[in-house]
């Protein structure tokens, strides 16, 4: 269990920014060129940014490997193979 009060205490702004970048990269269409540049500059600004971003990306991947408990649909992003529908 993760009590609500714990979340505020553990809130790390750099992590939040890094997580949001990773999240945006996985949205349909991905980052545009301008946002890609912004991300690169943010990463270059501080080694802590890069380190935290790499951690967020790794956790994002791991979260995507957990088998779902719900019967969720496949993504509608063109990666699907219509032969198996």
């Amino acid at each position: 269990m993760w009590p609500m009060t714990k979340q505020d205490k553990d809130h790390d702004p750099v992590w939040q920014i890094a997580w949001t970048w990773v999240r945006r990269q996985h949205e349909r269409g991905g980052l545009g060129e301008a946002a890609g540049k912004e991300l690169a500059q943010w990463l270059a600004a501080d080694p802590l940014h890069r380190k935290t971003y790499d951690e967020a990306a790794r956790l994002w991947l791991l979260v995507g490997l957990v088998p779902p408990v719900n019967d969720v649909p496949k993504p509608d992003d063109g990666t699907d193979d219509s032969a198996t529908r």
Binding site: G30, L39, A44, L62, L65, V69, P75, D77, T79, A83
Partner: protein, 176 residues
């Protein structure tokens, strides 16, 4: 192979191998080249057992696709960042070298996935559903709201709750 022809006894690995050509196409649509798609498939194959240790996978081929897709997106994401970095931040490359987020740097994939699953399991059921629709199905918050019959604002709160809970899993990926 048609999904309806999968005998229940097939292991995930066997389903993966039987459907390798299809999984290769899923990967290649994301990473573009056949060489990278091969790498993704090898990597994904090794990760299957970790997921299977969390719980029984009801849709083996669906789960194989999920793992391949996510590993492929991670490769693509990594390569995109490195490309942007080279383009815009050449001068600082030595200060902050490109990361090597190789999968084997995660100490124990099974334990990590089980820990993440426990955190997600502690969320309200609808919050986890909203999160899975977003993370695994790639649905927008608006689309999830329509599906769940609630406002996009509420979906946004649920996703934020899940994200906040997952922040407690940082220890799983630190120190690599």
């Amino acid at each position: 192979m048609d999904m309806s022809l999968q005998p229940a006894e097939l292991t995930l690995g066997e389903v993966f191998i039987a459907n390798r050509a299809q999984l290769q196409r899923v990967a290649q649509k994301i990473v573009r080249t056949a060489d990278l798609a091969d790498e993704v498939l090898q990597d994904a194959y090794l990760k299957l057992a970790d997921g299977a240790s969390v719980r029984d996978v009801r849709k083996p081929l669906g789960y194989c696709c999920q793992v391949v897709r996510n590993v492929a997106f991670d490769y693509h994401r990594h390569n995109s960042v490195e490309a942007s970095y080279r383009t815009y931040c050449e001068d600082v490359e030595l200060v902050s070298p490109p990361s090597n987020d190789a999968p084997d740097r995660v100490l124990d994939g099974r334990q990590a996935l089980a820990a993440i699953d426990r955190v997600l399991e502690a969320l309200p059921a609808r919050t986890r559903l909203a999160f899975e629709l977003n993370r695994l199905s790639g649905m927008t918050q608006r689309e999830i709201g329509v599906r769940l019959g609630c406002s996009a604002t509420l979906v946004n709160f649920m996703i934020k709750d899940a994200d906040a809970a997952l922040e407690s899993c940082r220890y799983l990926v630190q120190g690599g």
